[in-house]
């Protein structure tokens, strides 16, 4: 099980204090989730993440709510792990790639992602899109804790189970994820637009959807302002 490996990796060498409460919680979680758990991560003193298998996504909601007591539904959303083909940093040499330079395909994008040494977040993963949700245990003073749950969304189908039958509040969150990322939530009672006009084409939150404001007028930070000091000056007092 990859579980143990990632836990040890999560606690960096200089951090001697282990996070016993979270370790214990994670043990309970992995026991309840069993086979469904793919990977997990603890940030010492901060938070717990788990990644579950795609097929188990719907069942996991039931387990965390009814067996682990995480009854409070925080949010549900999707991450697009493809690096933006348009350049997203202010310090990039080319801020804009013209629209006819088609967004790079999956192969190049995953190369780029691995260059940064940070691929698919703290709990890893294989697919371009990942669903993630946050649930918490509330109403019990002194025992408040939250959990972030992630799952891969298959590239071929772009579909994952709905959570609406367990957490009714997932309704709007899934509608938003559907229109923004184009992810199907199997079993959702009515996937329709929540923010965008009904005739809107495309999924704006996908990384390959251009931010049109930047197409019309390039980011001025590159040309207008005097160059920012380099990173090596970084240790001094922050600017006020």
């Amino acid at each position: 099980m990859t579980n143990d490996a990632s836990v040890t990796e999560a606690a960096p060498a200089e951090e001697v204090a282990t996070d016993e409460t979270r370790e214990a919680r994670l043990a309970t979680i992995s026991e309840s989730l069993g086979e469904m758990l793919v990977d997990s991560h603890i940030a010492t003193g901060r938070d717990i993440w788990v990644r579950v298998s795609t097929d188990a996504w719907g069942a996991v909601a039931d387990v965390v709510r009814n067996r682990l007591g995480l009854r409070y539904f925080g949010f549900l959303s999707v991450i697009d792990w493809m690096p933006s083909p348009y350049g997203r940093s202010m310090d990039s040499e080319v801020d804009i790639v013209l629209a006819d330079a088609a967004p790079s395909d999956e192969a190049t994008s995953s190369d780029e992602a691995s260059d940064t040494g940070f691929n698919r977040g703290v709990t890893g993963g294989e697919t371009r899109f990942q669903a993630f949700a946050r649930v918490s245990h509330v109403g019990d003073p002194g025992d408040f804790w939250g959990l972030t749950i992630k799952a891969d969304i298959p590239d071929e189908t772009l579909a994952i189970d709905t959570w609406t039958n367990v957490y009714a509040g997932a309704d709007w969150h899934e509608r938003e994820a559907w229109e923004m990322f184009g992810i199907q939530f199997t079993g959702h009672p009515g996937l329709r637009n929540i923010y965008l006009p009904t005739d809107f084409e495309g999924n704006p939150m996908r990384k390959d959807f251009p931010l049109l404001a930047r197409m019309v007028k390039p980011w001025p930070g590159i040309v207008d302002v005097e160059p920012l000091p380099t990173i090596s000056d970084g240790a001094e007092e922050g600017d006020q």
Partner: protein, 390 residues
């Protein structure tokens, strides 16, 4: 065998008659009522399409998105210091409170901690935002019920608080004062005294509102037992803040999971109400304003000396990682889930805004209520459109 009293006989006859009437009643034709997008109860531009059967709502469908600004997309092309300017505009009545969780999440990833004084000043400004936000709610709730006076009091007395925010930060509504590692500036001279003075005004306002609204028979009739949210449903829909506490959920992020703010040092109380109706939501908020005023007093008295800015690099690059930090904002749980790949800009920011979840309960909650109650329920759930349409 017990004898049947006249009263019981009458009850029986009445029940029979009621049954008979239901059975012969003709089917009413459904009607669609369009509420908004420009209704004062909507604090922005929210539209509600209500299918009515007689006076009762059969199905209500809120339509959001008239104000969607795409902040989650925009944050991907902004540097971290620039993002505070954007997120200021999410809940525009309590702007400073929007910056804090974002800054805290970034600080968590950078493993930077603000100096103690900065933490305390953040907490003061956070509570002032809460007060200025909720004061307007308290007055506005009167308007929803047809009482016009309270809202004028609210606008008048909110100014005292906004003046303090402006004096400290330079902005009445959009301070943009929080920085990674601390604050932009220290407080001006004499600010603490004048802030404590304005807290007296706030308390006075709370008393006035209590006299004007809380005890009013009309107010009680319009809000008690209306729009009841049971605790379990509230949790399923992710109701947070005063809405959750009005349903009896004993949960306040300020107490239970306080990150980077001075709440553990203070003496205060989490108010909750077990009724879960519109009245409870109003009542909890009025107590929260008082509690906030109490906290500001304590914070002003105990403010530690020292710097307000930690040592941070001139160019903010946040190390790769993921963090979720939420705070107890005036409207409820507001959190930012930041995914950083170690660049100048975040890779993905998920904004968990309170009103979005608070409003997602409306289709469930409005089913079966009468038309005038739609307004009081919406008013008491208290949402800001900027917080729904991020």
């Amino acid at each position: 065998m017990t004898s049947v009293t006249d009263r019981q006989k009458l009850q029986y006859i009445a029940a029979q008659a009621a049954d008979a009437r239901v059975n012969v009643e003709l089917e009413t034709e459904g009607m669609t009522l369009n509420l908004g997008p420009q209704h004062p109860a909507t604090h922005g531009t929210l539209r509600i399409i209500a299918q009515l059967d007689g006076e009762q709502v059969v199905h209500a469908e809120p339509v959001a998105g008239y104000m969607h600004r795409g902040y989650e997309k925009l944050t991907e092309v902004r540097t971290y210091p620039q993002i505070t300017t954007l997120v200021n505009r999410i809940d525009w009545l309590g702007s400073f409170a929007n910056e804090v969780p974002f800054i805290l999440a970034a600080e968590q990833l950078m493993e930077v901690e603000a100096p103690e004084r900065a933490m305390w000043i953040r907490t003061i400004l956070f509570e002032l935002s809460r007060i200025s936000n909720l004061i307007l709610f308290l007055g506005d709730m009167g308007v929803q019920l047809g009482a016009v006076t309270p809202v004028f009091f609210a606008f008048r007395d909110r100014e005292f608080v906004l003046d303090q925010i402006e004096a400290a930060t330079g902005g009445r509504f959009h301070p943009n004062f929080d920085r990674i590692g601390g604050l932009k500036d220290d407080l001006p001279k004499g600010w603490l005294e004048s802030t404590k003075g304005s807290m007296d005004k706030v308390r006075e306002f709370c008393d006035q509102i209590e006299d004007l609204l809380l005890g009013s028979e009309i107010f009680q009739a319009r809000t008690r037992g209306i729009g009841i949210v049971p605790a379990d449903v509230a949790m399923q829909y992710g109701l947070s803040g005063a809405n959750a506490r009005a349903s009896g959920i004993d949960w306040d992020i300020r107490r239970d999971n306080c990150i980077g703010l001075a709440y553990p040092e203070l003496d205060w109380k989490v108010w909750k109400h077990t009724d879960g109706d519109s009245f409870a939501r109003f009542w909890v908020r009025i107590q929260e304003v008082r509690e906030a005023a109490k906290m500001v007093d304590q914070l002003c008295d105990g403010l530690p000396a020292g710097p307000v800015m930690a040592k941070v690099p001139r160019i903010i690059k946040v190390p790769a990682g993921e963090a979720y930090v939420a705070t107890e904002n005036p409207l409820g749980e507001m959190g930012y889930y930041i995914v950083s790949e170690g660049e100048l800009t975040p890779f993905r920011v998920k904004i968990r805004s309170a009103s979005f979840s608070n409003m997602s309960i409306t289709p469930w909650l409005l089913r079966g209520v009468y038309v005038p109650d739609i307004i009081t329920i919406l008013g008491s759930l208290y949402f800001i459109l900027g917080d729904i349409d991020r």
